[in-house]
């Protein structure tokens, strides 16, 4: 289940999207999300589909990879669709027991489904083409102005990238401890909720201890390699806008303008 989440996973390939500045991709994703909520007409969705389709093609990431990201949110998707389908007032199309399906409901459910699916796929395009490090670098640079109001931007970005590095390690460790306790007769599956929660103690205590030990080791290793905060630090891969990044900004603005125009004209 956890392995199915594609958000935060990087797919190595050589494409224009991979080479774009992470800031462009981050802002681009935001613009795409805004456009999804700006659109309320089929023409708008058509434009969004065309844009997303083009991005997926350019990214050289297999389509199957993107779709895999939808699996974990399948339940949320189903519930959202059901709510919209049954609870939107309008002309009744079908009715059974207390459930009424209306024309407006169908429309609304369709829109919500498209928005959610595009939202996930849209953000997957960003995370699949950007390494976690580039992403945190990009965020750090974008949030730089916040340092003026004393937000520890560099520290937040460093924390994020360390977390990204240690998630797989801790997941593996969880698996190992769980197996070791099962070998000692532990039972993580049967019993009621309270019993299940109690059964987690032999898993969680060692896991926390290990996480703290790792944190301690890592802090020491970072200090030994002269880490002393963001001050006076240079970067191996500093972010610099190239002409392709500016072109990408232009395309995105055109796209956003397009979806706004469609909304206004469609009225």
């Amino acid at each position: 289940m956890i392995r199915d989440i594609t958000i935060g996973q990087y797919y190595p390939a050589d494409s224009i999207l991979h080479r774009l500045d992470p800031r462009v991709k981050f802002i681009g994703t935001l613009i795409f999300l805004v456009s999804l909520f700006v659109s309320n007409k089929w023409e708008g969705y058509l434009l969004a589909t065309a844009f997303l389709g083009a991005m997926i093609l350019i990214s050289k990431v297999p389509f199957g990879f993107m779709v895999k990201g939808l699996k974990p949110i399948f339940m949320i998707l189903l519930i959202t669709v059901a709510f919209n389908l049954f609870l939107t007032p309008g002309t009744i199309l079908v009715q059974f027991w207390i459930f009424k399906i209306t024309d407006a409901g169908c429309l609304q459910a369709g829109k919500m489904a498209i928005r959610l699916i595009y939202l996930i796929i849209g953000s997957s395009v960003m995370t699949l083409t950007t390494t976690p490090n580039q992403l945190t670098d990009g965020l750090e640079k974008l949030m730089r102005p916040l340092t003026r109001i004393k937000v520890p931007v560099h520290e937040i970005a460093m924390m994020m990238s360390i977390a990204l590095r240690f998630i797989p390690i801790l997941m593996e460790e969880t698996d190992k401890i769980m197996k070791a306790q099962i070998a000692r007769g532990a039972d993580f599956e049967s019993g009621n909720l309270i019993k299940k929660a109690k059964a987690l103690i032999p898993l969680l205590v060692p896991l926390f201890i290990s996480a703290f030990r790792r944190a301690n080791d890592l802090a020491m290793a970072m200090e030994a390699r002269c880490y002393h905060g963001g001050e006076g630090r240079t970067q191996m891969k500093p972010l610099k806008y190239a002409s392709r990044d500016l072109a990408a900004y232009g395309i995105m603005l055109l796209y956003l303008a397009g979806s706004i125009v469609i909304r206004i004209l469609g009225r």
Partner: protein
């Protein structure tokens, strides 16, 4: 004065009771004197808890002496203004390869040290290239560290230190968590750094096979240096080593046993060839 020097070094751990008062002090390092010449390969042996890791952490200022002084390239580690220069001069590699790699991509991790030192960008790239080449990990530069073997991870960690262009590298049991092949890889990389780049190496270990290449072996027990000499001198004292909870390589042990059984075999045999030749001369 050598590149690393310690004089009457004492380090005490304080143990606090529930009320926050000092309950007991335990001496992890007890009056240690040390002088390491630039370019040497020093091995430090000792059982777990003998104080060898504590000593290592003094060499790059992660711990500050309770008494006595440690100098790194003529800078005292007590001088806080020099702290970052000291850490750059004396790099450190730790035991657990997972807990010292910061980057999510190999080359970015190697660049971490130079970034912290404020090295200009193009220079960082040059250093990363050189360091990865020095440990033979260039082919893996775009990989995620999580997908590497233990030996490869540890070589990345060494490259991360080499990129800081240190004069001395302290390795604190770098092979304890590795399999035999990983151990060989790491040792090979360390020996090459010492020979080709002339980096001073202080290798802390309890694998006896790893110290036979050292210029000098130091044996620690209860916070003190109890033996010092060339590998041959150290390994000729099998019984003394055993009393410090240590071992000798099988070939040395067999030579020792044969000698005790009355054969004319010299003490301190280190390699299979030496032993085979010694036995052949007898027959």
């Amino acid at each position: 004065m050598g590149i690393i020097k310690a004089s009457k070094l004492v380090f005490e751990y304080l143990k606090y009771n529930d009320e926050g008062k000092v309950e007991e002090t335990s001496r992890a390092i007890d009056r240690v004197d040390l002088d390491v010449e630039a370019g040497q390969f020093i091995a430090v042996l000792g059982h777990n808890g003998s104080g060898k890791s504590t000593l290592a952490k003094h060499i790059n200022g992660l711990l500050i002496p309770t008494e006595g002084t440690v100098w790194v390239d003529h800078m005292s580690t007590e001088n806080e203004e020099e702290l970052w220069r000291i850490r750059q001069k004396a790099g450190m590699v730790f035991q657990n390869p997972d807990n010292q790699i910061i980057g999510t991509v190999v080359e970015e991790d190697v660049g971490f040290g130079p970034e912290n030192m404020g090295v200009p960008t193009e220079d960082i790239w040059r250093r990363v290239d050189e360091s990865l080449r020095a440990v033979g990990m260039t082919a893996y530069r775009h990989h995620s560290p999580n997908k590497l073997s233990g030996g490869q991870k540890q070589r990345v960690a060494i490259a991360g230190v080499v990129a800081m262009r240190p004069k001395c590298i302290v390795l604190d049991e770098p092979t304890a968590m590795l399999d035999p092949n990983g151990r060989k890889e790491v040792l090979q990389a360390v020996r090459e750094l010492n020979k080709k780049e002339g980096v001073t190496v202080i290798l802390i270990t309890h694998y006896m096979e790893e110290v036979i290449f050292a210029d000098r072996v130091i044996v620690m027990d209860r916070g003190s240096i109890v033996m010092q000499g060339t590998p041959r001198e150290i390994f000729s004292q099998v019984d003394t080593l055993k009393s410090y909870r240590l071992d000798v390589p099988q070939v040395t042990l067999l030579a020792h046993e044969l000698r005790t059984s009355g054969l004319q075999i010299p003490e301190g045999i280190l390699t299979i060839d030496e032993l085979v030749n010694a036995i052949c001369q007898l027959s």
